[in-house]
Structures are given as C-alpha cells and as structure tokens.
Symmetry: C2
Subunit: 330 residues, 2 copies
Amino acid sequence: MKFDVFGIENPLIDLLAKVPDEFLVRNELKKNHMLLVDESRHRFLLESLDGVEVRLEAGGSCANTLLGISQLGGRTAYCGKVGGDEHGRTYISSLEAAGVKSYISSNGSVTGSTVILVTPDAARTMNTFLGACQELTPEDVPLEELKSSHIMYITGYLWDTEGQKEAATLALRTAGAEGVHVVMSLADPFCVVRHKEDFRDILDRYVDFVFANQEEALTLTDTDNTHEAMKVLRQWCSGAAITMGANGAYVTQGDEHIYLDPYPVNAVDTTGAGDAFAAGFMYGRISGASLFQCGRQGSYFASRVIQQVGPRLSGDIRRELAEVLDDQRP
Amino acid sequence: MKFDVFGIENPLIDLLAKVPDEFLVRNELKKNHMLLVDESRHRFLLESLDGVEVRLEAGGSCANTLLGISQLGGRTAYCGKVGGDEHGRTYISSLEAAGVKSYISSNGSVTGSTVILVTPDAARTMNTFLGACQELTPEDVPLEELKSSHIMYITGYLWDTEGQKEAATLALRTAGAEGVHVVMSLADPFCVVRHKEDFRDILDRYVDFVFANQEEALTLTDTDNTHEAMKVLRQWCSGAAITMGANGAYVTQGDEHIYLDPYPVNAVDTTGAGDAFAAGFMYGRISGASLFQCGRQGSYFASRVIQQVGPRLSGDIRRELAEVLDDQRP
C-alpha cells in the first residue's frame, strides 16, 4: 500500500478579499453561494477589487482534506490539473510542502482560482473560475498509484465538466475493480442540485462511504428529514455521515448508527468544516479506529476549523487530537 | 385492554406567579431549578407573593403526558394521592374533565403543589411541596386496572419518598409479571442525581423503554457524550429516547436507530417539552406507528408546547397532528 488516501479534484487558488456587503449587491452576488464563473467575469471581479488587499492561498475542498490527513500522519496523494503559470507552481509546491504527494499535471491554460469575498459578518461568497481544472482527462489519473491506495477520495465538484467526469469515472471503475475503498463528499448543495441524477447513480454503483452535510443529503434524497435521507443514502452505500452543523452529526456504517454531539464552540468562519470532518474521520478509518472514534475525530476537527478564519489548520494537530480524545474517553 | 396508558405519579397543583429576578435573589433560589421544600417554606414563599397574582393549574409531569395522550384519543388512567382539600378536588375534576380516568386516592393531608416563579426571561424556578403525594402507598395502586393496560408509565419523581417507592415497585413487579409494557421518564436531572443507583437498577430490571433528556441521560450513565449514554441505556432497556432540545432527538428500539430533526421554532417556555414528547411518542406507540413516526409525533408535540406558556396544549391537537404528519410525509 503506497497511500492511505488518494484524492482527485480541483486544485484551486483561493483569492481572499474583505469587502462590504455593498460590494455583493453591486455585483449581484448571492451571499454564501459558490458560483461557477467564466474567465472574463472572474477577471472583472478581480479588477473591481482594485485597491483591496487580496490574500492568496492554495485551496480546494479535497486538497484541504488531504492536507489535514497528512498533518495527522496519513500518507496522501492528490491528482488534478493546473496551468503552466505561477499559480500552478505555487499550488503544487504548497501541497508537497504539506506532505501531500502531487500527481498534478499541468498544461498551457490558466490555473483555476476562486475569488472569495468575505463580508463583515464572516460570510464567504465564492466565485470559481475552474480554468485548467476542467481540462483534467482520464490520461491524467495515475492508475497504478490509485490502485495501491487504501482509500480513493473524490468530491462532487468533479462532475462540473465532461473531461473531469470521464477521469473520475475511470478512477471509480479502477478503484472498484481493485478493491480500493471509495469515499465521496457531495461537495456543496448547489453541486448536488446540478448533478443529482449522476450522484445517485455514482453512489449506488461505486461509492462505499459518503460524506454530506444536511442540506446536501436532503437535496440529494428529496426528503425533508435527516432520518429518511440517511435511509436512502444507506440503500446506496455501506456507510454515510451526515453533518448537521451546530446540531452535531449522524454517522452510520453496517449495523452501527451513531449520533455525534457537536463540540460547543463559537463559530468564526465555517469554511472548510466539511473538509475537516472528512479529514478527521478518514484518518480514523486508516488508523483502524472505531466508527465512533472516526466520527469524534471528524467532529473535533470540524469544530477546530470553524473557530479560525480559513479552511486549514496549523500547529501540531496530531498531538492535539490525541490529547483531546484521551481527555474525553468515558 | 381497558387503558392504553396507566400512569402513576405526583398529582401537583401548579401555582404560577410572575416575579422579578430580584425575588429569586432575595429568597436564595437558583433559577430553573426544581427544589423540594417543606410545608413551612412553601407557605413562606406563597406569603412572600402577597399582592402578586397567582394562577392555579393542575400540573405534574406524568399527568401532563396522560392529558396529551387523552387529547389525541388514547385511553388513559392516573394513580396518585391528593389531600381532602379544595386543591385535591380541583385536581381530580380537571383530570377527569380532560378524559383521564382518575384512580387518585385522598387522605386528610394537604394536596401537593408547586410554586412556579416565572421571571421576565421566561425561566421557571420551581418549589415543590409534595404534601399528600408522598403518602401514596402500595394499597393505593389499583392492580386490576394496571394489569389490563397496554403501557404502564412512571416518572423518576416517585423515588423521592419511601411510600411512593414501594407503590412504584409493586406496580413495576405487577406490570412485569403481566406483560404490561413499562415506560419510564427520568423526570429531571436533579432527580437523577438523587436516585442514580435506584434508577439504574429499575431500568435494568423492569423498564422496557426510557425517556431522558440529554442531561439526564449523561448524568445517569456517567459519560459526556450522547452516543455512549445511549449505548448504556440500551444495555438496560429494549428502547430509549434521548431528547436534545434544539439539537433534535435520538431514539432507538431493537435494531432501529433514528436521529430526529428538531422542528424549527422559537421557544417561549420549555416547561413540559419532555412531557409532550412522551405523550406524542406513546400515542404513536399505542396506535401502532413506526418508531420513526412515534419520534416525529413526540418531536412535534414538544415543539408545539415550547411555543406557548405552560405545559399543556389546547385545541384539536389530534387533527393538527394528522395534518402535520401528512404534510411532511416524504
């Protein structure tokens, strides 16, 4: 086994800017939404931010998760596509510096990036230009590395373009044939709306374990309650986690059904809560923890990340986790 | 089968008064607590309320639940003890008017009552003088009626005096021998602290299904998380419900494990939320509903009762329930 978790998704550079609410209004942006935009709109938004400080970070949901797993001691690898520009080089080096093995290919396009507008209420309104991401093709997936991984991890964001879909489908088929455990995050509620039928089919055919927040789960399963959503998810997958923000989380696998208490915290910025949950949970999985411990680790990391600004944790989180879980052992 | 639910507990008259916070401070009362007081302290508190309007209502946790079940169409009976005074007669007639068959005995003592001090923040601070309640004895329990009931329902409040304990234990043994389904509510967290060992023993020996709020469940099982608490409760009982306020509820029975979403409401007064949950849930049980529907009915009633002042619902709640559940069917 070469890697504990092999992830495929969109390498995106985050471009963060603090703006007043009025900026959203002026640009007809819906607060808290993630919008896919084309290059000219993306450039227009950046130009509108003239004079505003723009912070640059390597982002992307799947990469956030892999980074967390890597920080905890897991062996991770990441596949995606960037352009042959400075953003692309920055992305790859930041991943590798964090211990995530890069299988990122590059081409002559522009590296994808997300303009993240942070309003004074800490809400994040995102405008993503996928750029090179959408040019990922089946040839970009290193199948031998994938085959020698314990878990393959993908997110729903891959279904936004045809090339990515093909690459993801090849990876899913390969993982299935080779007994690689397939874990999927539904990504975001709008992504679920865009690809509802595809996601249902994929979960049913390929996915062993699915992460969803409550809104994603309800949307995908066409119900108004979590219990029904879980029942439907479990008709497709052998396990599922539905995260419910301040209400905790509900995870099930085989015959085990576990309600997870939330950690009581003051949320500062909920970006990356789902990514952090997935990181803590999957690290538990690869280190042989019980479903309950996996869930607690996920909940703990989610609680940590929402107490700071930005989706990635710093510091010795491995040690911190060990202490916290030890403290709380009944 | 004569009754769907046969309840035993403390018939208490509620004496409600609106007071400023300063009243609690002056009388050294801890907000939101239920305190057992003796007759002289009780009289002192009532005298201190001179000039304040005091509203009188028939109360008691178990009676609240039976009333709810009766309103929904269930056949209920109630056993307890009152004094030979006006309060006692009022209590019995109010129960019977609500369709609950009274097996309340009376003696020469004073009927128990609770001074409920409602501060401007809607908190309720309770001072209960048990009075005649505590003189309930095994002879007061109508065993033939109990035997021909589907469910026997008790609350933890019965463990505060020896006579009540004996009466409850006789009832539990009789129910067990006759195959009557035994359901218990842990009553309140302080009650659990007072009788932790007794409750563990009773749950293990006699109780089929237990209702607890989160604090009660954690206290009883000496843990800091809901999942562990549920695991321990299920070592004792074949089913359990842990209500978690705004976080929803978690109910399990046999192999079924269900997380219940909360109904999104603005809480006005949380008094009686647990009683209402038990009413909705048990009515579901006696009408043959699934565990999920039982839980939803319980959650719905709890959400209704916290949107009003006081623990009892009025209006055609049976029809309301049918409409609500019908609306929400996926």
